[in-house]
Assembly symmetry: D2
Homo-oligomer: 258 residues x 4
């Protein structure tokens, strides 16, 4: 909790000011009186504040890294909004870069860097020297304003995000849907063979499809007697459906309180 | 909260495992199911854990820095326990160093350093690469064991701490008790002169005592007509009492729940 | 320079040991005498050492990040060696992860984290307290061994790296070679129109190819009267050649002393 | 080396610009051409620059920490200049705080924090994303200007520093000069007894003087038969001289090139 106030005197002992002065003043300002202050409020509160900003920054970086990955030319499942009239890269007119997501990722580095300075500020000499002050004059406005900016940027990114479901489907089905291999593996195990055998069968068909022009995992499976003898066409088709991955979404929404 | 578990599959979608499996397993282990996992539990939980360790480390460093300052040859208000049979410094037999407090201060640096690595671990590619793993294999045991060691060391330091009230009194009364100057200032203001005038009077008497062999702030005040004309000997004596600084201790104890 | 030695006594004044003792001893050990030591060698030397390790770590991370990007399923221009008998991902048999490159990227985080602790170690009290010692006992072996391990890992990665030139060519020519758009732009400018006009022409043809099933930038240009009226088929073909990008390699090799 | 320039094109291949353009331009600007650039100059150069600033900052912090320690009320061997008309602490008129040295110590924390962000900037995706840019817009001016300010502050501190040799002598001779105990130890060893015996004798006399009102190490030694039987009054007096500590100053000056 960082919303605390303190009027406890030069030693933190209320020697010349009644504690009630502190309480009344804090109440008017919507603050709690600091539980045990020295001449100043202990800097672990400020450190926890900066740590929280850095943690939010890392969460935003997590989203922005995902967007950067999905916006790659070779993936292109989402795309940051191309502002009206905006040119592409100066060198390559076709290229749209996820510049806001990259910016958010960069600024998360600044936030987490400052955590160390904030933690160094805690151990003041005799519980009160002024060494923390110069740090805080840079750190507190910089970190607060930076996270505010990052939140605004991310809001813009999400609001304007182009989403390309067709590319998602295309990428999922590359090389004949190798990403569905785990489901095939489990179906084979359920059909009564050992996991080792199932793994061997799936890996064989996956490897021959993988990274091969025209490679097709699903077609390989359909042509593999060890598979067709165990899984019906319907059972195999089920393995390549995304339905299972969406079946339990409600559980997650509920936990998140959405 | 870091005590969470997760069995949500390679995509975090419970595609092949019912969420109930996760719930039952977690319940048996005394864990909460993670609200929204991917293939892994998001690393912001781990980062918050390391941040908390670093914050506790900074709190211990705050105590240890105070002890280091108070154990200085020139201050000597407290002293870390000299173990039976322990020699002093190899070069200077009389010298007892606050080695445990210095050690605690050093290790606090290690803890806060790791915060940045912990925060960098959050943004995994496609919400799951393995880059965090090598960091965690070093960071999690090192930070956990280091803070545990620091807590044990600090417990030993506090249990065995030599405390020297006579030196505290001597240091407070150096140069005739200049540390009590604020109380004199306030007493003069209460006697009816302006703060500026009071400040000028106090500073004059403090400066002539300060850093002077035999300098005596209190004697200077007693001999200063501008003071003696305003404060009675009893009033002046009150200014040099520590009673006021202890009068409100109960308020602080109560807030701390002690 | 970190290879220095010091035998200058408890104050760094050579009060009880002649400087020649230091010089002779250092010479035997292949060290330089420290220019101006206190009781200890100043910790900025150790900090510079850790900074150098972290910088090398960042260089390795740069390579490893490139490999991780190039090994993505959707790119697959290089691939870390799949050890004989090694299984793929436990969930997805076809999947080969760049686990060593991810590991190197993770460990680079550990190295750079320690830089802050190393820098905090510099300002010892009275130029010699023992607070740096606990840090160094963790930091020096951990960082040295970690970088050594990273260098070995990276050597293994490079030695065993699968390189797929066909995929490189495929990726470069996706959507009819939009990556060559800059060269087309310059050719159009050289043909006598303004950069703005050229940019508009190129962007138009790039955008209609981009992210479109069967989109073909080069075919679009060939069919565009504004282009064919200015660039001959040979000139256009030249724009899609990689020769120009390799023409000046010798300059770079020479600068690198290779 | 950070003074490099680069005009190597969007791929760093000089595909559309002859390397001579780079060389001529760099020469005019007093820069070296970067040995092997991508679209940008690799960020390890920027990281090394920030590391160097942080290392200089740590050196300044080393000086400033020494000054803060020496300016303590209980030590007072040096004192930052008290500007004409400057008031002391608002609460304690007599108190002069080393505010500039504390400020320098604080700002060193900011510099070293940024080192991690600078190192994180090195591993750009495909050797060129824009994530480093937002970091550098904050980091490069902030760090450069901060170190410049610190250097100016430290220059002012040193120029105006009050130095109190009498207090230095007083502090060295506290408790009858216990700081000279090592020299006594060595003199006893040279007189023919074992180091263990000498240590025991010195420690006995040091401990009974230490932290005792009126304690006097030197008087204790003079009254100790085990000492007086081995060291003549002149030999003992030599042990309490600072001459030995200044005898080899010229060696250090010479090494520093002063």
């Amino acid at each position: 909790m960082v919303s605390v106030g303190q009027i406890s005197g030069a030693m933190g002992t209320y020697a010349n000011t009644d504690p009630q002065v502190e309480e009344l003043t804090c109440r008017k300002l919507g603050l709690e009186p600091d539980t045990a202050s020295t001449q100043v409020i202990a800097r672990d509160r400020h450190a926890e504040y900066i740590q929280t900003l850095a943690l939010v920054g890392a969460a935003l970086e997590r989203f922005s890294t995902e967007i950067r990955n999905l916006q790659r030319t070779d993936v292109l499942e989402v795309e940051e909004n191309f502002a009206k009239g905006q040119k592409g890269s100066s060198a390559m007119p076709h290229k749209r870069n996820p510049i806001r997501s990259e910016r958010i990722g960069g600024l998360a580095r600044v936030l987490r860097s400052y955590v160390v300075a904030a933690l160094e500020n805690c151990a003041l000499w005799h519980e009160r020297d002024i060494s923390h002050s110069s740090v805080e004059r840079m750190m507190l406005p910089d970190c607060s304003a930076t996270l505010h900016f990052m939140l605004r940027e991310m809001t813009e990114v999400v609001k304007g995000l182009g989403v390309y479901p067709d590319n998602m489907a295309r990428n999922m089905n590359v090389y004949g849907g190798v990403v569905f291999s785990q489901r095939v593996l489990l179906a084979l195990v359920e059909s009564g063979i050992s996991r080792e055998d199932a793994y061997r069968i799936v890996q064989r068909n996956a490897h021959s499809a993988w990274n091969t022009d025209g490679g097709n995992f699903r077609a390989n499976l359909e042509a593999d007697a060890e598979v067709s003898g165990r899984l019906s066409p319907d059972q195999l088709a089920d393995c390549f459906s995304t339905d299972l991955h969406q079946a339990n979404l409600a559980v997650i929404w509920e936990r998140l309180g959405i």
